[in-house]
Symmetry: D2
Subunit: 308 residues, 4 copies
């Protein structure tokens, strides 16, 4: 790195510039739009090469280097890209969003200004049922008539909440106090700036099927509509190595090895030793870790050597 | 530091141990309680002395060293103490709290469990008026009759919100969706762990008169009831050097110097050059920076050499 | 969570208390010792249960819950435990250590005090050869005679560096400048406080075979001697789900599925479409991703359907 | 904020673009150059206005708003600007730099590549003496003859260190180990990305007279040559409210008030009650806090009512 490099231009990404500033709709009244960004796939490569020194330029091409970095969790070069989004999102959803701490935020202030006059509304067909197997998820929709009734009641509640808010303001109550009973679904807006490494972490958690539908909708829009345009090489690597990857625990590896090597008895012994095969009156006791293992092995057409 | 030090005991703070686990009431139905802590005033001294090497033990005594560190913003030793609180707080207030990013948090999940059946209620005399001079503050109370009416309406809204929530749950709506219209004032609970440096930063902002009454109530309880017991030397230094301190800008210093040196003309010239003395039809234009300067100089009995 | 909980005791860990303050030797003249800690396996469970509400206590037992949390990357409860270490470590190694940003640090100051009179020394048999396949690793030892020669030269350099340092100090050169040519291997000391989540991340990277021997020695001591005593349930889960786990990329899953389902042609097509089977004059071109895939499949006794 | 805003352009700063990529020399062989940036003074205003809602645009003009934000520590809008620098800096200095944790870093790797063949050299006139009053500072220069001798010895040490390093590499020692005795003054390079808020914090500490000359040289170049071009309004506000400001402690305010109000006896009582006036055999004992107070009061021409 002896030669001092000369003047550079800021990297630009044509395909992202095309949508700069344009709101991408999410939910009934939300949006995400890109306000600014810094860096591109190139910048990741450039930062990584500072670490490697100049001698290595010939060896790796950009795509290969980016994929290598992401596959092997060399995360720092991905911090060299930043994006700034303007989002409009229900406060309820924002409460989850804001738990990602490594980002910069300026949120619309309902102390300073009157609250945005909009709350997320639910169409009759969009009421989701509590998931059976998962205490924190949802699955399936309520039947139409019930949905219609709940949507009516939602409108009633929104109307009362808005009336009460207005009434307080008209009587001169401070905005900071008047807002106290707004519904959690009230929309807020914010500027949210995050680096690419932390954004990918956010997407990994929030694009997932276990994430709540609302934040998942934002995450998928950000991923598929924005990140894919901004850093296409990184995005593909992310799909290949994070979203589409799976992890095998020490035990799952051991059991899979034993079975593929033709030693089902060894697989049994291992599962036993990890406490996965405890039995009750009616066969094997429910065991979450075992269920997860069985699902993974099934993906590879491998049958487990124990019976329910 | 050549000698390897021998076995140590974990530092304990008797006066904090006395209230460990005990909820301290805040607002109508909130609390703060200490769950655990690490370190004490001693630990700050000990960490600072790692930096200084052993030779300096005789020179400073603990109190002096802590005060020196805090006065001169040597902040790292204060990171060596941690405290873990269990808090119960309205979500509205929690939204402000959580913006302090350098803390660890586990919050009660209304995806996983049914929401806590309590929202902050406002007594008729506790409705605060919008502040006149400050767009984001409050000041004074509404008169009793209006307050009574607003409190009634608040109860009506809380009741409807709770009914709608129950109705959704009874129809099998997923908890994550059923909660969407809970009032912002609904109580939540969380474990919040923070180091002393970041806690003092939190307290500096949130104990301040400009902070909203609700979070200010929590901050003052934490400061006066908890931190004062935990690290009394640090607490006193914090009151002396942060809470009770004031800052003079470059311009304020210049004007104060000029006036105390008997050069009011120079003070005028300075203020003019900073654009603080722009005039309109009816005298000096409103200028926030000038107003702040005048308030500070008045504290020291100094009259400014310009006229409204 | 309606009942307000009563007084609690700080959690203690007997097996960790036994070694509190005792230096555990690392390298020729370094050490790690535990100065203080907060929390235990119990505290992780307790924090997680704040999220879940009280109703769930019967369902999970502690061990199962901790394993579930770690397996599914529910990381926040692990932030609820903290540990404070006093370490003595060569500056060269410390330069890597300090790159982990989410920790609190007080380091011995060579501006303030005279540098510690010790630098890491290399025994004749401990000179490591540059790794062949890995540009940033080492492998194998130099032969004895060369090692002896290099050790002699190291001593010569250390002696000169120390002389020059002393000379500068004797002539009244400021400590901050006098230190400028100390060898990177000079020992420093620091207090390092980190939460369990971030510590596990540190250990995952630094206990790894790819980490440099020096920092790996510290990491393994911290892991095997300290964390294993402090939070034994978490430690075991960490070995099972992080250290002993492996990850299969989207492509690796696809290829493995195709092969186990008896469709080697499909596996070939997939690998081809990912660009892993490019050919040069003498067969398949070197491809790092393909090599990694082959190694993983071999672990499960699966032969790849392509030939070198 | 009801209207969804339309397409935007990325903010550009002409005066910064002019020096993009150009190395600004620091020390004998170091540099700083801007590689990329995001945002401008405008972006701070824009982010702040998200908080305030659109109604306020007319009230504040940009300059006034930026100054208000900085004066009142509304720090989040300043996080909305980022800058990426390429720096070349002695490792010794980098050790201080890297302690600022809220930045992203890619450093030249001497595990991966051969170390940069340059170490900071000291001209005969540049040897600094240990400060008398400040254990961690320097002041004044050594006399020429001594300086010349020390510079010679420095060259001797650098030569031996380089020889030993080369020798190790030639014998096949791994780069990660070969580097262990390089002088701390060896140059390294890095990409360093930081947001404006954290950069100002860095500059406040490192432009200060108490910072070591080396890092101060970098900080001043970054401040005066780069930040001043990038965000000129913020830079001026920073000079006025941070660099040029002073702080008065609770006690200093009290004493100054008492004196200016004509109550020197009250000032005495206060100082006494704070323990600043302890006496020994030969008058007042040395007391750092008192000395600091006296210096501040002297700035305003105020004489203290106690005698040495």
């Amino acid at each position: 790195m002896e030669e001092k490099p000369s003047r550079v231009e800021r990297p630009r990404v044509e395909s992202l510039d095309e949508i700069l500033g344009q709101p991408l709709d999410v939910l009934d009244d939300g949006f995400v739009r890109v306000v600014d960004y810094m860096g591109a796939d190139d910048s990741i490569v450039q930062a990584a090469r500072v670490s490697y020194g100049k001698g290595t330029k010939q060896v790796h091409e950009d795509r290969g280097l980016i994929r290598y970095l992401l596959r092997h969790r060399h995360t720092t070069p991905f911090e060299m890209c930043d994006i700034k989004l303007h989002v409009r999102v229900p406060m309820d959803c924002w409460r989850q969003w804001i738990r990602h701490r490594t980002a910069s935020v300026n949120e619309y202030s309902t102390r300073y200004s009157i609250a945005i006059d909009a709350a997320q509304e639910t169409a009759p067909g969009d009421w989701r049922m509590q998931a059976a197997g998962n205490r924190q998820g949802s699955g399936g929709s309520l039947e139409a008539a019930t949905g219609a009734r709940l949507t009516e009641r939602e409108a009633e509640l929104h109307a009362l909440a808005r009336d009460v808010y207005q009434e307080r303001l008209e009587h001169g109550v401070a905005r900071e106090q008047a807002r106290k009973d707004l519904p959690l679904a009230t929309y807020t807006e914010a500027y949210w700036k995050v680096n690419l490494h932390n954004l990918l972490h956010f997407l990994r958690l929030r694009m997932d099927d276990h994430a709540q539908l609302e934040i998942r909708s934002y995450a998928r829009t950000i991923g598929h509509e924005i990140v894919s345009r901004w850093v296409p090489l990184t995005w593909q690597a992310f799909l290949d190595y994070h979203i589409g990857a799976t992890s095998l625990t020490r035990l799952e590896r051991g059991v899979l090895q034993a079975i593929t090597a033709g030693h089902p008895d060894e697989a049994l012994r291992l599962a036993e030793s990890f406490g996965l095969l405890a039995r009750g009156a009616d066969g094997l006791k429910r065991n979450r870790e075992r269920a997860e293992m069985e699902a993974k092995l099934a993906e590879f057409g491998v049958e487990v050597p124990w019976k329910e």
